[in-house]
């Protein structure tokens, strides 16, 4: 267990009556890239700042490579931190920004010089050493912030929405560079973002947070394919929900009776009890439309009400005959279905997921 680079155990932060972070636990293995993903106010940044030591937790424990750092001041934690707004010291040149921590560690002049050169070249900033932060673009400033953190070879790199102040095109470029750099240096990274694309594309594992709590911790593929809660299913990607009650339970699959009375079969991974309220969900790209009638299991019927063409993707909105709407995404299409046309949908049992229909405070 103490092999973990970071271990957060039951971390809590209370602000008056509000629990900003409520019993959050997760770990980051050495060399791993873990993201904290969630909407604004979900407690992800507060969690990261507690790990960095900028905020004192109200409870719980934080360990870095087995060492309890819960109440250590930030300067004694040996963690790199990259801020959303870069937080470069405006009165110092790029080189001075990078050198600051090294000087505090009383490194030799030649060591510092080499280290500045190395970390600037790694972040693609060679030749910018003498510039002042205000003479750099946003993307370059964030590279300096990264170089500043990397120069100290921290045990873990913490990043707080480092790309969200950049414009979209640059964000995508920087995202790839960052991931490539992290993988090459095998830098243990904890990354906070509200951008699911970033989290899914960069991370080994993602911690999904909502209202101060952890909703699910899983690899990106697992999150998308097997969301544990409605929140995760809704937050990560687009999904179709069908409300129902479990009527049949068999090993490996269940029958879910929809409000219309129709029973859908769905493959399950965790057992659900008979009679429990559930949501069956299916991703839009799994919803295939047929203009010819189909018979059999799990067939739903409806009419196309809207078709949106995006080039690579064609999106249909289908109103089911029994009420409710489904969204469908087609990637390899060879024809359009006109709005108003009758369609049949076969929701394959292995494409349906069943999630307990939890009702929580505030929903």
């Amino acid at each position: 267990m103490s092999d973990d680079a970071i271990q957060v155990q039951g971390a809590m932060k209370r602000y008056g009556a509000v629990m900003a972070v409520d019993d959050v636990s997760f770990n980051v293995a050495p060399g791993e890239f873990v993201s904290l993903l969630g909407p604004s106010g979900c407690g992800k940044t507060t969690s990261l700042r507690m790990i960095a030591g900028f905020i004192d937790p109200s409870g719980g424990a934080i360990r870095v490579h087995g060492r309890d750092v819960t109440y250590l001041p930030p300067e004694r934690r040996d963690l790199g931190f990259v801020f959303q707004n870069y937080a470069l010291w405006p009165h110092m040149t790029v080189a001075e920004n990078v050198a600051f921590g090294l000087k505090l560690r009383k490194k030799s002049r030649s060591f510092i010089k080499d280290k500045i050169e190395e970390s600037l070249s790694v972040t693609g900033l060679s030749g910018y050493a003498a510039r002042l932060p205000r003479e750099l673009s946003g993307g370059q400033q964030q590279r300096v912030a990264l170089a500043r953190a990397l120069a100290l070879e921290p045990q873990v790199l913490l990043m707080d929405e480092p790309l969200s102040n950049l414009d979209r095109a640059l964000r995508v470029v920087m995202r790839r560079e960052l991931k490539e750099l992290q993988a090459r240096m095998k830098m243990t990274t904890l990354y906070v973002t509200h951008d699911q694309e970033e989290a899914l594309s960069m991370s080994n594992r993602v911690v999904i947070m909502n209202k101060g709590r952890v909703e699910q911790i899983a690899a990106p593929y697992e999150l998308y394919e097997n969301p544990a809660t409605t929140f995760v299913a809704d937050f990560v990607g687009i999904t179709n929900f069908l409300e129902g009650v479990v009527v049949d339970t068999e090993p490996g699959w269940v029958g879910v009776r929809l409000e219309t009375g129709q029973v859908l079969r769905a493959v399950i991974r965790q057992p659900v009890s008979r009679g429990s309220a559930v949501r069956a969900l299916i991703r839009p790209e799994r919803v295939t439309l047929s203009t010819a009638p189909i018979d059999g299991l799990n067939v739903l019927r409806g009419r196309v009400v809207l078709s949106e063409y995006f080039g690579a993707v064609l999106r249909y909105t289908v109103r089911l005959d029994d009420g409710g709407t489904l969204r469908s995404e087609v990637h390899n299409f060879d024809g359009f279905i006109a709005p108003g046309e009758q369609v049949w949908i076969c929701a394959l049992p292995e494409h349906l997921r069943v999630i307990p229909h939890e009702r929580r405070a505030g929903e």
């Binding site: 960095a52 030591g53 900028f54 001041p73 930030p74 300067e75 963690l79 790199g80 931190f81 801020f83 707004n85 937080a87 470069l88 010291w89 405006p90 009165h91 600051f100 921590g101 505090l104 560690r105 002042l132 205000r134 500043r148 953190a149 100290l152």
Partner: protein
């Protein structure tokens, strides 16, 4: 941009020219005039007023150099007193902040004469300050503050503080707390983070405050007049005496020209020094 601003600035520039530049030109001209029979100004061109100043150690040392020293001393003490206050107020909010700001601004609002009379109560032999110091066992015998340089410096410090606090607070509030966190993160103690990050970034505010307060102290007149004695010959007071008591306008003018020039020189020196130290880095190049 500058061209577009020019028309809207011109009435202001005109006012500055009429009410500041013209009188100063007149003062410069007068400083080269002569005084006949001790009271009548004679239009001429003589350097007598300047040679009289430069040739007399009393003016050079006891007035000009003395004024420079007092201005530097009281400005420095103002800064030392104002800095922690500004740091503290910058961290407060709401009612607490409003109360503290009102207290700091008070000397600017009361009016100098009322203020000085108030301080006389504090300064005099059996006054508040002496009673307090004796009660605290700092010294045994009452110390003379009134009609003494000590009282002058204390008052100049007090009057200078609000300017420095205000200009420092402006700088302090511009500093993102993330800059301090970033410093702590790379290994700086709170103290190191203050000296290496916060302090340098407050230099623009400190500089602005220094310029204002040094100039005010250098030209101090009312405080040495009301609190000082014959040994506290600050140059502003000497000019007043020459102009209004001795009726020697040409000499008073020469003293004024010297005062303004020396002040300007010191300010230019400060600008160069601060610019070299840090301001050039913080201000965008044009």
């Amino acid at each position: 941009m500058i061209r577009r601003l020019t028309p809207s600035l011109s009435p202001g520039l005109l006012a500055i020219f009429i009410f500041v530049a013209l009188p100063m030109l007149w003062v410069v001209r007068t400083s080269f005039n002569d005084l006949a029979q001790g009271s009548f100004i004679v239009e001429t061109f003589t350097l007598d007023n300047y040679t009289r100043f430069l040739g007399d150690p009393w003016y050079l040392v006891n007035t000009l150099w003395f004024t420079v020293r007092i201005a530097i001393l009281s400005t420095a003490v103002s800064v030392i007193c104002a800095y922690p206050v500004a740091l503290y107020i910058a961290r407060t909010t709401g009612v607490q902040r409003n109360i503290l700001m009102a207290l700091i601004m008070a000397p600017l609002l009361i009016g100098l004469v009322t203020l000085v009379y108030g301080w006389i109560v504090i300064f005099r032999g059996g006054g508040l300050l002496n009673s307090l110091m004796i009660a605290l066992n700092v010294y045994d015998e009452p110390v003379r503050y009134m009609w003494d340089i000590k009282g002058v410096v204390i008052l100049l410090v007090y009057i200078g503080m609000p300017y420095i606090v205000l200009s420092l607070m402006d700088s302090i509030e511009r500093i993102s707390p993330y800059l301090v966190e970033a410093a702590r993160n790379v290994g700086a103690s709170p103290w190191t983070a203050f000296w290496k990050i916060v302090f340098p970034l407050t230099m623009p505010g400190l500089y602005a405050g220094l310029v204002i307060v040094f100039s005010l102290n250098f030209a101090a007149f009312a405080v040495p007049l009301m609190i000082g004695d014959s040994n506290t010959q600050m140059i502003g007071l000497v000019i007043y005496r020459e102009a209004l008591l001795n009726n020697d306008l040409p000499f008073a003018s020469a003293l004024s020209v010297i005062m303004v020039s020396v002040n300007a020189l010191i300010l230019v020196g400060m600008a160069v020094l601060f610019g070299r130290l840090i301001l050039n880095r913080l201000e965008a190049k044009r």
